[in-house]
Subunit: 417 residues, 2 copies
Amino acid sequence: MPLNAPRIVMKFGGTSVADLDRIRNVAKTVKKQVEAGCEVTVVVSAMSGVTNQLVGYCESLNPLFDPCEYDSIVATGEQVTSGLLAIALQTLGVKSRSWAGWQIPILTDDAHSKARIKSIDSSKLIECMQSGVVPVVAGFQGVDDNGRVATLGRGGSDTSAVALAASMQATRCDIYTDVDGIYTTDPRIVKKAKRISAIAYEEMLELASVGAKVLQTRSVELAMKEQVRVQVLSSFDDNPAPMENSLPGSLVVSEDEIMEKEQVTGIAYSLNEAKVVIKDIPDHPGIAASVFAPLARENVNVDMIVQSSGSNQKTDMTFTVPKTDLLNVQKILEREREHIGFAEMLADDDVVKISVIGIGMRSHTGVANTMFKTLAERSINVQVISTSEIKVSVLVAAEYVELAVRALHTAYGLDAQ
Amino acid sequence: MPLNAPRIVMKFGGTSVADLDRIRNVAKTVKKQVEAGCEVTVVVSAMSGVTNQLVGYCESLNPLFDPCEYDSIVATGEQVTSGLLAIALQTLGVKSRSWAGWQIPILTDDAHSKARIKSIDSSKLIECMQSGVVPVVAGFQGVDDNGRVATLGRGGSDTSAVALAASMQATRCDIYTDVDGIYTTDPRIVKKAKRISAIAYEEMLELASVGAKVLQTRSVELAMKEQVRVQVLSSFDDNPAPMENSLPGSLVVSEDEIMEKEQVTGIAYSLNEAKVVIKDIPDHPGIAASVFAPLARENVNVDMIVQSSGSNQKTDMTFTVPKTDLLNVQKILEREREHIGFAEMLADDDVVKISVIGIGMRSHTGVANTMFKTLAERSINVQVISTSEIKVSVLVAAEYVELAVRALHTAYGLDAQ
């Protein structure tokens, strides 16, 4: 092993290890990195379908199952994959051994079924790598202070990988998945969508929370906090060992690493929104709180909010909530009707939220204007607008989703040549 | 919990926990024991089929898989069952938690895939029981000195249960299985076979090794060494909480505990034997070694041996080997033909070994004679005979198996009324 060998954490998701053939392929991909001179730690998910089966068992026995037992049951899925991949690597002549969370250990809090990592002692893994053995870590899991297995919540293997990469000061954390990177928008809608070669953590968080499902949000937050460089890659490409100079996937890194800051990096959409309009509310201080406090108490996540001035000391309030909460929201507000004092409530779940995202917005003006102009040219009526430092979102009728996303993709110069 | 509450280890095999309904039934059975005032520790196997699937994965990846990885993969089967049963018990209002081998810990040697238990610290389990929580232990597994999971070989959950019972000085170790006890012979052959209410360890070892497949042999050896009282029960009976005065299964205990020592306790048979005859060997000292040493070197287990005196300083040697080893044995002896100096080798795998077993033989004469007389009356030719202190075995043509077993069962007075 040369001095200063790049140290890489490679994480493979459930579809990448879905059966023995795919596990053999993963072993080949890992072997290439080892042969390229890297120190490698691998993190794996459960074979796809396994976690759902185990969760189903728990729920059938008791919908209010003990989360400690749930954790020790579902964590076995990743343990099986880690052992199988270790065997597959050995079969290719690569020394390897599996590590369960408790063997490392990865210490978590005791919020079972959605635990958070408290600390990782990666010294045994580093020793393992430096003795020429590839550690294969069961993702998604750790152990609490009482020695009980704890899991990190669905998709938690991404977080395991990023946390391990931080703990062992890895050069990079490679997340292998069933897509080959992060795209400027959904390629199912826009054929000319481009793979983004580098995206800032903040942008990735916005893209993920509004629809892109490539990385678990928590893993991106952690990567941002710990400054872990994350690369998203396809495990189904027969890609060459990705070296720094020609990375085939998408890098998720800090803003400073991104040379060319585009105005807009990507366009996301979410069909999981519903709009609520409350009309003719008495317009006095504290009225917003009287609407949103009861929703907060019931854990409804309110997103876009617009208050329009009406007449006669009356105002209208428009906001969006997750579609799955809509019925509940209507019930809560109906109950509070007298207290709030509104005349009428309208609901519409046939809407889509479209967002344009880019750290370049901070230094470019006119991004929002381009959006409104582009939509107006297609006669698409904007119902609600919200903005943040690196994002502009609009709510429009759901029927326009493809038209609007395609038009914006072209308008911001994102179409592939 | 009353002082001196009986402390019971209850073990449930793979068919007893094959699906969620059966796991719910097991929880009910455990609850009855708890309500009867016992301190209970439960040991479970993997749901039937699970271990085979996991073993199949390992073998597909590499027939010469790393036994360390094999262990960490297959041990997950029991971990899943232990968590599921803990949830099922909680659902019935019985406090419970699962324990993996490494959490207890059960320390083993590092003979992975067939490890032996070195020591068990059952203090945490005892504390758990005494705080009113039923521990559900994942059977078949422990952890070695390096913190790696180790399994005890197929059927190892019986051994886990007996070892735990010894370590916590349990009143009894109850093995729940798919039969309701140990029978005087195979009930599929003899309709009048009786359940044996009490059997000595030594008898059980003979019965198990010649065909009865109720308890793992190693668990019986361990029970004998540690003087653990073992009870075999059906998990499918809706049996009442088995109390000392009316035990529904079969007790496996030390000879001293058995009041009525029958001449013959049971009749076993094995179709897994093959006979080899080597004819006309020069009859000089050391000739037996020249035949059996090469077989021993290749790990062939030779069972019955008879040497008959021939003529002209020549002798014949007859012995039995496991049927699966027969081809290999023929190859080995053919290779050694000149060295041994035999004229002819005959092989016959169409034979059955029938054994009558009973500690009462020590004080009763005529047991062997009854056997020979009974077989002679049916014109069944005895090919080989071997005897031990508590067993007489004969080898006869396989076609007589049912006739011989039924006749002997009647002759020794074992038929149920």
